[in-house]
Amino acid sequence: MINLLFFGRLGDCALDVDKSIFYQDDLATPLDVRDWLAKAHGDLGKALSEPQVLVSVNKRVVKWDHPLADNDELAFLPPVTGG
């Protein structure tokens, strides 16, 4: 399984999203997962495609092409830039 975490306001766009998904070959990277989520959840897909959205795997910030492994925790973090 891949456990999904939508941090902060991304959680508001992901209320009806299953937070654990089966680990499979065609969901090999955070980018794959994002594209897959976007098919069923348009608003979430849009929010995840904003510039400066960060992804972390097991509490480490990674690139969108980072290889996922079974039992990973994949977190998406919305941009925070104001002050």
Binding site: G8, R9, Q52, T81, G82, G83
Partner: protein, 254 residues
């Protein structure tokens, strides 16, 4: 410069602490800290650092107080509207602690400002309380090049972010490794999306304690990213990795 009688009273709650004490208070007294941005983050940062006795605090912000700032920028009062933020801030901070030096820089941040309080001297630490990516990237670049500790925070809506870099000790991993230099601004910032005042208080307080840790020699979390979600009361702490293709800290001379 050593502590006088008034200082012993004023900073007694620091002096009572074994891991601050007179030696630590002297480190704070000798520090010269630049705060870039005197908005929602900069206000609590400036208040706490002034109260703590940081010896010189330079304030950089070109803006004037606006009524819409008062919901979260806790240094300013209704009658300040239209006045320069840095001038109002200096008055308030001096009323709090007249024993420290406060300088105002009422213009956009640039390399000259970041390069130090004088030609021969660098800042002990720089606090990034700005609201835009271009300024954040310029601050990061200058701090990296000049080996100045950088404490950067941001907030929007219910959410805050903190990340700090001790460029005195570490030459890999900088702000640009995390947020790409070329990336564009997201749709929302504090002026068009809104922000909850205390979120800025939380993040600004965290920034000021990180500055103190940096000055006192307790900081070990170079490039660790902290996120706060005030709506759900959640924190997330993550480690970041250096990007070998980073245009700031990537391997050009290695």
């Amino acid at each position: 410069m050593s502590l006088n009688d008034d200082d012993f009273m004023r900073y007694s709650r620091h002096l009572l602490m074994d891991d601050i004490g007179e030696v630590g208070q002297e480190k704070l007294t000798q520090a010269k800290v630049l705060i870039v941005g005197l908005g929602g983050l900069g206000c609590p940062v400036a208040l706490y650092l002034a109260a703590a006795g940081v010896g010189q605090i330079d304030l950089c912000d070109p803006d004037r107080v606006d009524k819409t700032n008062l919901q979260r920028q806790v240094l300013y009062r209704t009658e300040d509207c239209g006045e320069l933020k840095v001038a109002c801030a200096k008055d308030r901070l001096h009323a709090l602690n007249s024993g420290i030096t406060i300088n105002v820089l009422a213009r956009e941040v640039d390399v000259d400002i970041l390069s130090g309080p004088s030609l021969t001297e660098a800042y002990t630490a720089i606090v990034d309380c700005t609201d835009n990516l271009a300024a954040r990237q310029l601050i990061n670049k200058t701090c990296y090049e000049q080996r100045i500790p950088l404490i950067s925070a941001a907030a929007v809506g219910w959410e805050g972010q903190l990340v700090a870099f001790d460029f005195r000790r570490y030459r890999q991993l900088c702000f640009s490794c995390i947020i790409d230099y070329k990336s564009t601004e997201p749709m929302m910032n504090c002026s068009n999306f809104g922000v909850v005042g205390p979120v800025l208080g939380v993040m600004g307080s965290l920034q000021s304690i990180t500055v103190m840790r940096m000055l006192l020699g307790f900081f070990e979390q170079h490039g660790e990213l902290q996120r706060y979600d005030g709506k759900r009361g959640q924190w997330l702490t993550m480690q970041c990795a250096s990007d070998t293709s980073c245009s700031i800290c990537g391997p050009t001379d290695r």
